[in-house]
């Protein structure tokens, strides 16, 4: 909401700097966003008088003017305009002057003739024909009738000696979308009186309003109040300069006196108004009704809209003449020969207006005000103010009488002033009489112990609301600051949060950097990672109103997110990229309104000398750091996202809790990565449930261990895992450690067989192992390898 400080003076006398004004208003809760001097953009432009004019010797259209700018000696200025005459007063941008848009004017030569500046058109001073209805559109702005003098700053002539203050208005204060509302806040903030103005309408027009106009409001739920007056024999003309200037300060384009009056009242009162041409209100009847489905209306901006029954229209007995609260219809527009005018000042349901404006894509000044649910008590005074201005401007003859349809019973909300509770909530000790004084400054009357909430304050409904009013006038910054009191609570992180931090730290120590990706993905991502068409993973939650197809479903797998980031980095030619993310996936669950949101810990790598086994080693380190029990691995040949020969499932206690391996080359290709890509998807929530208890001390061995190497030859199909399991079982509890150190194929090992070599460490806690004991263990191992896996010592 923009307000002019000059206009504000109509309601509050206040002599403080712009900076102080903004600071004080901000601290009482009316946050000032910007403070703009209207003369800030125009510098060193003055009124000049053209003393003489001569043709430019080297141009058939330029003039060389001698201009008195009030500096003694006249300045020579060259202009190409043809509407200037000797003796005219004109705006002169002198040497080293500034025009709107940061244009800097300096002296120079035009076709060889020196020019000490520039004569300006109104456009060059950021004015429009609407601001200056009498000025010539082409050429220099002639100031002969502007009541100005040579040397005068052009800002004074334009009326730029003003400051526009832009406020951020909070949702709960519809009253502050008006000059009067902000004037009331200003008066309260600075503790100065508010100057009230009661509109006075003489109403000398001839005729009986009740015979001319009939208003019906069948849509009682969407129109709380409909107030109207009529003006006859209007003389459509430009509005006076002071009114045009004030509208310009509010960012509103002047049109003509009648339309300008409606806008002027809207700024002052926050009550949008509309003026109809009475000629086109058929039957003299106004009906406020819901639109018919498919009904068409051409609005003032010339656009045709198809309406539906959720929208409210202003109609006569035949057709819609306006889209209620949004924009008038073209068919009843005020035009040059309009004679009789109906002023509408109504109160419409905010939500309905907002939804209509939104669905038609036409948010207007009026709809923006209505959607805040403004005070229905405003309509009457606002329509009278408009009629008062009509009379003041001599723009027409106001008929006596007001049509006023009320669809609600005005009731004053009454609240007890509970000063003790207010002090208890604020932690203050403000005397009751001070609270009363603060409320009265805000024009909220207090009678005895009862606060009478004015109609324009729908935000005051309970003790806490009054506490805010008291608090903000007392000053939030004057309220004491105490350390957090109360029962001391043991703050901290949950075990899950600690493990999450730990696994992240471990990943970083392994060279992985953390990424954060969007939770929503494209449905085509499932194709990109080759998820089968009938896979349950494709059953995902759809966003009803997504930004686009690419972000329209909630991910059920983390792989596409990781791959797209790897892909981006690959395209950026980043080498050796290792990434991790702890993210949620979203699985719909039958019978549950809300889905499950398990966390998945994802790794992704290309380059960095990574292969299946380096990745596996890293995963083992990650699992160790959060004390997950010893995992087992199972080859996965049928996950279409992964290489069929280089993919494994992670099992703990027989429970599958992740998959990892080389991403299928076709998938890598889909992501335009021409390198081996490795990924892991670990179900973090599952892993957390499969952890060892806290480590406890185990005696450090006092007796030496025995190392034995063992190389066996077995069939190619026998896995290292199977050999290890077999050895471990056979060796029993004396085996402390087993480590694979070689796999060999080729002569003298027969074809179809391989030699696998392990290093074993045997140890007893209570004695030094004898040679015989060690041999017995080795024999048992070899027997079992032979019988179970057909593996023999090499």
């Amino acid at each position: 909401m923009d307000i002019s400080r000059e206009w504000l003076k109509d309601f509050v006398d206040l002599d403080v700097s712009d900076k102080e004004y903004a600071d004080v208003m901000t601290l009482v809760g009316q946050k000032v966003e910007t403070v703009t001097r209207m003369d800030a953009e125009i510098k060193n432009v003055v009124v000049g008088k053209v003393l003489s004019m001569a043709r430019h010797e080297d141009s058939d259209h330029m003039w060389v003017c001698q201009v008195d700018v009030g500096d003694g000696e006249p300045e020579q200025i060259v202009t190409g305009a043809q509407n200037v005459h000797e003796g005219d007063l004109v705006p002169v941008a002198k040497h080293n002057s500034y025009l709107p848009g940061g244009i800097h004017i300096t002296k120079g030569k035009l076709r060889g003739v020196a020019s000490a500046g520039m004569l300006c058109s109104f456009g060059e001073l950021a004015l429009t024909q609407n601001d200056l209805p009498d000025a010539e559109a082409d050429g220099i702005w002639i100031l002969n009738n502007e009541n100005c003098h040579v040397g005068q700053d052009i800002n004074e002539v334009i009326g730029n000696d003003d400051t526009v203050v832009e406020f951020e208005i909070t949702n709960n204060r519809p009253d502050c979308y008006s000059l009067i509302g902000l004037a009331r806040e200003t008066a309260a903030a600075f503790n100065v009186p508010m100057k009230h103005h009661e509109p006075v309408v003489k109403a000398c027009g001839k005729g009986e309003l009740s015979e001319l106009l009939d208003v019906e409001v069948p849509a009682t739920d969407l129109c709380r109040r409909y107030t109207a007056r009529m003006v006859r024999n209007v003389k459509i003309a430009p509005s006076p300069k002071w009114m045009r200037r004030r509208l310009r300060s509010a960012g509103i384009r002047p049109i003509n006196n009648i339309v300008d009056i409606t806008n002027y009242v809207m700024v002052e009162y926050g009550q949008p108004m509309h003026a109809f041409d009475y000629r086109y209100v058929h039957g003299g009847k106004i009906v406020v009704r819901r639109a018919l489905d498919g009904e068409k209306l051409t609005t003032l901006d010339g656009n045709v809209h198809e309406l539906n029954s959720n929208m409210l229209v202003i109609a006569d007995d035949e057709k819609a003449v306006g889209l209620a609260g949004v924009m008038g219809g073209e068919n009843s527009e005020i035009v040059a020969d309009t004679v009789d005018v109906v002023f509408e000042s109504a109160n419409f349901d905010g939500t309905s207006i907002r939804q209509t404006a939104l669905s038609l894509g036409m948010r207007t000044d009026a709809s923006a005000k209505f959607e805040k649910n403004i005070d229905p008590m405003l309509t009457y005074e606002a329509v009278n103010r408009a009629c008062e201005l009509v009379e003041q401007l001599g723009a027409g003859e106001v008929l006596s009488g007001v049509v006023d349809v009320l669809n609600f019973v005005p009731q004053t909300v009454k609240l007890p002033l509970e000063s003790d509770k207010i002090n208890a909530l604020l932690g203050t000790n403000i005397p009751r009489e001070d609270m009363v004084a603060y409320l009265r400054r805000l024009e909220v009357p207090v009678e005895g112990n009862i606060v009478l909430v004015p109609s324009w304050r729908p935000d005051l409904r309970c003790m806490a609301d009054l506490a805010e009013e008291v608090g903000r006038l007392y000053g939030f910054n004057n309220i004491a600051t105490t350390p957090l009191r109360g029962i001391t609570t043991q703050g901290g992180y949950s075990d899950e949060q600690k493990q999450e931090a730990a696994i992240g730290a471990e990943a970083r120590s392994l060279g992985y950097s953390e990424i954060i990706t969007y939770s929503f993905v494209s449905p085509s991502d499932f194709d990109m990672v080759r998820v089968p068409a009938d896979s349950p993973l494709r059953e995902c939650i759809r966003i009803q109103n997504p930004l686009g197809e690419d972000t329209s479903v909630m991910r059920t797998i983390p792989l596409p997110s990781m791959l797209s980031i790897l892909s981006r980095n690959y395209a950026l030619k980043n080498k050796d990229v290792k990434l991790y993310e702890m993210c949620k996936v979203y699985h719909p669950v039958a019978g549950q309104t809300l889905p499950d949101e398990p966390k998945v810990f994802t790794l992704g790598v290309y380059g960095a000398k990574t292969d299946f086994f380096t990745l596996k080693g890293e995963i083992e380190a990650l699992l160790r750091c959060i004390r997950v029990k010893k995992p087992e691995y199972e080859a996965v040949k049928d996950d279409p996202s992964y290489h069929p020969g280089r993919c494994a499932a992670l099992l703990v206690d027989g429970k599958r809790c992740g998959v990892f391996g080389q991403v299928h080359p076709l998938v890598a290709k889909n992501y335009a990565i021409d390198a081996e890509v490795y990924c892991a998807e670990l179900d973090f929530d599952t892993l957390l449930a499969l952890r060892e208890p806290e480590a406890t001390f185990r005696a450090i061995p006092r007796f030496p261990s025995v190392s034995r190497d063992l190389a066996v030859v077995c069939a190619e199909e026998v896995t290292v895992g199977a050999l290890e399991d077999c050895i471990t079982h056979a060796a029993g509890k004396l085996l402390r450690d087993i480590e694979l150190f070689d796999i060999y194929r080729g002569l003298p090992v027969p074809a179809g067989k391989k030699s696998v070599a392990f290093s074993l460490e045997l140890l007893a806690d209570d004695r030094t192992l004898t040679f015989d004991e060690t041999e017995a263990v080795m024999t048992k191992i070899l027997d079992k390898l032979g019988s179970e896996l057909d593996a023999a010592i090499r």
Binding site: T170, I479, T482, E514, L579
Partner: protein, 341 residues
């Protein structure tokens, strides 16, 4: 014989002085003191001496032997030290050659900033809680005193997951206030960080997904002074003891009174500059006393308990802290960006 002894001693000491390496010393030791050495050979001649002479000479020979052994040992230590010096000199490295790189990864700057915020509040006795991102409209709006028809509920602002708009992607972490109050008896002191979603197109300052940190304190006798104390403490922990903050009345449907907390611009100290867009202050967070309706809706008697809540936008705070100019960088995850933090 005495002369011979003296001669051996002299010659040996001369040789010792000239010895350059440990090997020379060893050779000298064998030559003089070894089984076939000069001194040993001389001692073998002792049998030819008279019984009176024998102990005298024996004593003399032993003292010569002891002296020579001591000198040899001394010299050996000296030579070893020299040899070590030489070796160490030969082993010297160019210390400006880069170390063998250990490539460690980096925490995402959003989480780095988040961890800092979490630690501050944990230090103040807050527990960190987590909750669903896919949320009921009831929790995201209704129970937070946001009426039907409120603009925030519009489909142009909020992502909905069901036809009837009953399930949505949470637009704020505030529903966690309700979830905690419904389940927990006061005293409550929690923060709830997490992802939130709003229907904003991606640009330099917007992202359809971003992060907030919700805070909630409920207890008997909690007042606005506690809110101010806690949040001032937080601001000073984050921005330093000399950070200047102010409380400005504002509006949120679920707190009353409500305020926004600004921190004085670090660049211009309140004078107004580009960093603070001329305002002199930078918005830090929104806060307020929990609305009595919200407390009552969660089964907490507002006549007995009161509380305050706050919400911090992580992206803005983190981008300011790390001078990140464009939010798109945050979610592009270019490793050249990530490795800077």
């Amino acid at each position: 014989m005495k002369e011979q002894l003296e001669k051996i001693r002299q010659k040996t000491l001369e040789a010792l002085a000239e010895a350059k390496e440990s090997a020379d010393l060893e050779a000298l030791r064998v030559k003089v003191l070894g089984k076939k050495g000069d001194l040993t050979a001389l001692l073998k001649q002792m049998g030819g001496l008279s019984p009176e002479e024998r102990p005298v000479m024996g004593q003399l020979a032993n003292s010569v032997r002891a002296a020579l052994e001591e000198k040899l040992t001394e010299k050996a230590v000296e030579l070893q030290a020299k040899a070590l010096d030489k070796q160490l000199q030969a082993e010297a490295v160019d210390v400006t050659i880069p170390g063998v790189a250990v490539k460690t990864g980096h925490k995402h700057p959003m989480n780095k900033a988040l961890d800092e915020v979490k630690d501050i509040f944990v230090g103040m006795g807050f527990t960190v809680v987590d909750g669903p991102e896919i949320e009921l409209s009831d929790y995201n709006f209704t129970k937070l005193n946001t009426e039907e028809g409120h603009p925030a509920r519009d489909r142009s602002d909020t992502f909905y997951l069901t036809d009837d708009d009953s399930v949505l992607l949470r637009t704020q972490t505030s529903p966690m206030q309700i979830r905690v109050m419904e389940k927990t008896k006061p005293p409550i002191r929690i923060i709830a960080p997490g992802r939130v979603y709003r229907k904003d197109e991606v640009d330099a300052t917007h992202s359809p997904m971003f992060h907030q940190i919700e805070g909630l304190v409920v207890d008997k006798g909690v007042t606005m002074t506690d809110l101010k104390g806690a949040l001032e403490n937080f601001a000073k922990a984050l921005y330093g003891e000399d950070a200047v903050i102010r409380f400005r009345p504002h509006h949120f449907p679920f707190t009353e009174p409500s305020c926004e907390v600004d921190v004085q611009c670090f660049e211009c100290h309140g004078a107004g500059c580009r960093t603070c867009k001329g305002e002199g202050w930078i918005e830090l967070l929104g806060a307020g006393m929990v609305h009595p309706k919200v407390l009552a809706g969660c089964g907490i008697d507002p006549d007995v308990y009161s509380g305050f809540a706050f919400g911090i936008g992580l992206e803005r705070a983190a981008m300011r802290r790390y001078c990140i100019p464009d939010m798109r960088l945050v979610y592009e995850n270019d490793v050249r960006f990530l490795s800077q933090f």
